[in-house]
Amino acid sequence: MKTLEENSKSVNLGKMVLKTTINEDLKHPYLENKLQKANRLLKKVGLPKELVS
């Protein structure tokens, strides 16, 4: 699988063509930060009561 960078560079914006090898590397630092933020929030507030069985 291509890296996100490789994949992004393979996108031909001029021709509006997207390659089919989207990167699924979810360990990207940006996503890690987002995930940590989400985990902290969920730990603090939990889930809606309707979803807690």
Partner: protein, 146 residues
């Protein structure tokens, strides 16, 4: 979804979605990533512009490409696609800024009829979840397929 959306490219495991915004400032590559949190079946939605040089997703930049409605409808479409493959998933959206959270909220407001037919929607207000109501400013949003 009946609204106009951009063609999306979906990754093999249905957790990454890319599309190209085409507006007054040109073509901008956008990325949406669903990542699993530590909480069972809760997935975090990450969305932003993809820097084609670094591959980094920038979720703070305001591209102002004049197509926000189409972009938000496209993000909503990825939620539908994702939830078809992960029907038990709860999707959490926390904006990188309060403005970005409002943008997500605007997306739900604008597409409320279609989204509410398919999803249960909650908003986080004062650190407490409540059933989503239009025109409230929430800290975060959570949706789950009905």
């Amino acid at each position: 979804m009946t609204k106009d959306t951009y063609p999306i490219e979906v990754s093999p495991h249905f957790v990454a979605y890319d599309f190209i915004s085409d507006g007054r400032k040109g073509k901008i590559l956008k990325g949406i990533r669903y990542t699993q949190t530590k909480f069972s079946n809760v997935w975090n939605l990450g969305f932003g512009d993809i820097d084609i040089h670094t591959g980094k997703i920038n979720d703070v930049i305001v591209s102002d490409n004049g197509d926000s409605e189409k972009i938000l409808a496209t993000v909503a479409r990825t939620c539908i696609e994702f939830s078809e493959h992960f029907p038990e998933a709860m999707i959490l959206a926390i904006g990188s800024t309060s403005a970005r959270t409002r943008l997500y909220q605007m997306g739900i407001n604008r597409n409320f009829t279609e989204i509410s037919e398919l999803f249960l929607i909650w908003g986080l207000l004062d650190d407490s979840w409540e059933v989503f109501e239009k025109n409230k400013n929430y800290q975060a949003l959570l949706v789950k397929r009905k």
